[in-house]
């Protein structure tokens, strides 16, 4: 099963729509609630990150019998120092993002905490690709 979503940078009113759809889909196929929560928390943080930092992005979701794999690919400024960005408390978010309740430097570490596997590639001035994998059993 495959799903795809587009995200617009800066459009916070729509942040979370993809995560919500994925949550509904995982419920429909009877995935364990604790696993659903881990997947959607990681994905929601990723959606917020694209809204907060990138110009636009896409989410590609692939579900098979054993796992859910999600690629979040954005066009944006990229991440200069991935090691720093992964540290809790490190943030380059704007005041507007902080007013939305995010931007305290917890996003990437929350994603890592909730994903069974996570990888991150980024090119400055081009964009970022995050892959999260969660096993369904």
């Amino acid at each position: 099963m495959k799903l795809e979503f587009a995200i617009s940078g800066g459009d916070f009113s729509r942040a979370g729509i993809a995560s919500s759809e994925v949550k509904k889909m995982l419920k429909k196929i009877n995935v364990e609630p604790k696993i659903i929560k881990r997947v959607v928390v990681a994905l929601y943080e990723a959606e917020v990150n694209v809204c907060a930092h990138a110009y636009k992005g896409n989410i590609f979701v692939e579900i098979d019998g054993t796992k859910i794999k999600i690629d979040i690919i954005d066009k944006g400024p990229g991440i200069e120092n991935i090691d720093e960005a992964m540290k809790e408390g490190y943030s380059t978010a704007s005041d507007a993002v902080r007013e939305m309740g995010f931007g305290a430097g917890m996003g990437l570490s929350n994603m890592k905490k909730n994903a069974d596997e996570m990888s991150l590639e980024s090119k400055v001035d081009e964009g970022t690709k995050v892959t999260i994998i969660n096993y369904l059993k």
Binding site: G16, K37, M100, F102
Partner: protein, 113 residues
């Protein structure tokens, strides 16, 4: 504690899911949604001053079914609609977060840590 009892204690106004029969024993107070997303406790009350779509979305993702909006923050119609769709109750109160936290603590609602 039921949503009716919580609302009565903090002089609140209930919207969103008004038929919630859950019993709440624990509360977490934060305006920072990433902190909320780290919590893994069932039947938790989220006490926040953040009144926007992201507070409702955060509750949706974190399986939280009761949000108290402090400091007289009002839920916009689209927040109420999204909350109702996801069986989330919103309780608006004019009291500050500190005031609400104090009342709930006095009435045996526990902190997370």
């Amino acid at each position: 504690m039921t949503i009716e009892k919580i609302s009565q204690l903090i002089n609140g106004n209930i919207s969103g899911c008004t038929t919630n029969r859950d019993e709440y024993k624990v509360c977490f107070a934060s305006d920072l949604m990433s902190d909320v997303l780290r919590i893994d406790t069932d039947n938790l009350i989220l006490l926040t001053g953040l009144s926007n779509m992201q507070s409702i979305r955060t509750a949706e993702m974190a399986d939280i079914t009761c949000i108290i909006l402090a400091r007289n923050k009002k839920a916009a119609p689209e927040m109420v609609e999204l909350a109702a769709e996801n069986n989330i109750t919103i309780i608006e109160s004019a009291y500050s977060m500190f005031h609400i936290a104090g009342i709930l603590f006095q009435n045996n609602i526990k902190p997370l840590f």
